[in-house]
């Protein structure tokens, strides 16, 4: 797929793993310090993975690899994730 989509698209895949709606959570980018709602991140959708990038500096915030029998999330690009209660 060529164009990226918004972080909104993470809502379904990550609902399998988290009890909260990740798209309304905010995260701080390790590389540039930008703080944004995950819904505002840029997501590159591939058949088996979602590459989530900072809207400000393009760096990778999170990678979600999905296979029938596993989900792997890499979160090193975030300093923290803040979840509204």
């Amino acid at each position: 797929m060529t164009g990226h989509v918004d972080g909104n698209v993470l809502a379904g895949p990550l609902s399998e793993l988290f009890r909260f709606d990740v798209t309304t959570a905010s995260a701080r980018c390790v590389s540039c310090g930008d703080v944004a709602t995950l819904a505002c991140a840029m997501v590159y959708v591939e058949p088996a993975s979602l590459i989530v990038r900072c809207r400000n500096c393009d760096d990778v915030l999170m990678v979600v690899v999905q296979e029938p029998d596993l989900v792997c999330i890499e979160l090193r690009g975030m300093a923290w994730l803040q979840v509204p209660r």
Partner: protein, 197 residues
Amino acid sequence: MGIISRGFSGRSREHNPDLPPGQYLTEDFPVLSAGPTPSIDTADWEFSIRTESGAVHRWDWDQLKSLPIEDVSTDIHCVTRWSKFGTSWRGVSLDTLFADVDTNYEYVMAHSYGGYTTNVPLEDLLDGKAWIAFEFDGEDLDPEHGGPARLLIPHLYFWKSAKWIRGLVMMDDDDPGFWEQNGYHIYGDPWLEQRYS
């Protein structure tokens, strides 16, 4: 398994002995777009190989193009499950580029413009198995597909064929690159379905 969708077959996934398991055949050339496409002017382009001694072998665009150029016709297999048969490329063999490189290390980290990395054993780059490719289907390789030049290692899943290649750094150990740190398999043999680790 969920409910079957009546009449849905998805992209055709025919059985073909040349097709690794779990792959489907495609006629077009899908783009694995994990991020923005870097634009690199060939005037600024440079490719290098760095060894453990600190020695750096460099080629600019004209130097690369003045090396012996090979025609490569090969099947390619993407981890996102498409395969494409008989693709034609032109590029310089890694055997040529490694001819004067003196190293005892057995692993390589490939670095790309735009910051990606991927790891490969040196033996997978030599003996006519890998190229720095700059032409696809008779045309200059376009930036979406890794132009001006990409690594081409057809016997591994295509993410190992690093787009926008900038250089190779010799490594003592098989350290994981960007994709491999993100759950992709450290080696990536399509015939063994080494997609994820």
